[in-house]
Symmetry: C2
Subunit: 373 residues, 2 copies
Amino acid sequence: MNLGRAAERLGITEERLQGLQETLIKRSSWPEPRLLRFEKTASGIEAGTVIFENGEIVYGYQKIRRALMLGPAIKRHFSGIVAVEEKMNGHNVRVTSVDGSIIALTRGGFICPYSTEVAKRLLPEAIFEEQPDLVLCGEMVGPENPYVPKDIYPTDTIDFYLFDLSRKNCKSTLGVHRTHEFAREHGIKAAALLGEFRAENAYEPVTRMVRRLGRQGREGVVMKDPENRRPPMKYTSSESNCNDLRVAFRYYNDYALDFFLSRAVREGFQSLEWRESEEERRARAKRLGESILLPMVETIQKKQSGENIVQRVQIRVKSLQTAREFEYHLRRSGMKAIFDQPEPEDDGYLVRITRLIMSTNDKTQALLEGEMW
Amino acid sequence: MNLGRAAERLGITEERLQGLQETLIKRSSWPEPRLLRFEKTASGIEAGTVIFENGEIVYGYQKIRRALMLGPAIKRHFSGIVAVEEKMNGHNVRVTSVDGSIIALTRGGFICPYSTEVAKRLLPEAIFEEQPDLVLCGEMVGPENPYVPKDIYPTDTIDFYLFDLSRKNCKSTLGVHRTHEFAREHGIKAAALLGEFRAENAYEPVTRMVRRLGRQGREGVVMKDPENRRPPMKYTSSESNCNDLRVAFRYYNDYALDFFLSRAVREGFQSLEWRESEEERRARAKRLGESILLPMVETIQKKQSGENIVQRVQIRVKSLQTAREFEYHLRRSGMKAIFDQPEPEDDGYLVRITRLIMSTNDKTQALLEGEMW
């Protein structure tokens, strides 16, 4: 690998890059092509940034910060126009081609074999033949997203929604308008562009959108400066916060601690900002409480009746190779999962996957037997 | 200090004790008498254990573990008789006398000047004249407990409830019966002994007690083996769990994360074990949700209207010296507090204290101004 060239592109010295390689940069040699991943942000280079063996760089997708008081946050953060896009609820991938072959990178900079197969199926190959340095940033969503299965989108399997465009070796993105234009030109789905507003007037319409999205079980919005002068900002619906909590508390000993506080605090600020009546606020509290208590009790009941605490998901693949590789990919990401025998279907295979939620499973069993906390 | 003698009493080598002194054992030279504190449990010696300059040792009070599924936990943990005491909600102190003078040690092994003054006022001096090696373990409770102010006990100020007896240089305690006998003999209040049951029959009556205590806003119970063969075990009411959450979410950025998960999980197991109806379970969820959302919204509102997020408590002291010393004690414990000018009263002074809840205060302000999470 030509580290000198990569360092130059990254804007750091080769020595610095060498030094990072022993700490924050990890090597990944599978699946091909081999690459170096930034496991954490370093020297101003975003986590998830990848250096391929041929020296090409795909930068990590920026972490989007979250508003808690939407009105003041819009005013503080933006000036001029704010473009509002739907925030899709799935997993973030960057799709690009390396040496002529399409790959999908996870947030952390791994090549995900399943996402790669999906991207190859959904995206016209011509895109990368014409522009081999293009990076498509988007969300994989749907019921057959094995990370975040969701039934709320118009797909029975999994779909890709573009939300940003970038180029290899280039930190910046091409902006809202160019992204949506590109999606139209190439017949690719994109996260819905819900409107554009002057920053000082945006609070009311954005709030209406978030309420409506919430009623539909959707996640929320990402607000962007069409001229890319300011980084984007996100804001989510109460329903989405509570959905997250429901998942977190179903697997309370694995996820609840990370998830909980921030989501509860979001509810507090939203209730205040929306000037809820006593009655509305109590309804929100009830929703919040139920998202915590009910899934947790269900989990304990399940364990009490002898079932294991697992999460069942499924994927559909064209080749058995993808299924096998995805199994390996989950394992290296630290997930414990059992893959059923693939079931042949018209054009490929359905693979049911059982994710083991070990900590909650074992802890619940122990507590039910009278062990102490 | 005679370290050799202390080490012998602790059952460890002098070298080991020397070694710990540089890591887990801290020196405290104020207020008199000077002492060494075990900041963490080490070599089987409980955190909070104190070695005085004269070589006398007061062991740390054991951490009492908590049942989540009460029925199975009682059966698994106890055999024979279980004595049930009310768990008081305040702060744990160990009162003893060193070189003829009474002191109150906090859980962590500091001498608390305020608790010491209270102990001197409430406990007959004769106790320690007759038995200078006695250690009274108890809870300081009431509205003028500056750590955990509570209005639910029959005192307008602060009171001491004995719940265990021990001796200097001795790890074990004297047991439930001896403790209550001692309290009666010396006219000292003790945590109520609510009953004794055979382990296999204890679940039903203990549950009834916990429900009743809950309705009274009380915390819960501690179950003890009267023959001291097994360590005690605690179990708390839903009301107490929710009260804790209310405090935690009022100061959400300072306390909520530590507090939350364990309390939510307690609610889940209790709801299951009590075989609640759909309706009861939803009522519990509502209570849980309200304990989280409402105090948090109140805090944000308060800050929005320009108030600072603080906690106001008060103490009553006989001597101004105690107030000054308590101020220093809070500061060394890492608490930020402003002491008002003491107000003279019949027999001493009323001192109002404003505890600054810095992190919640500053974070709320920033978020209200539109800063992102």
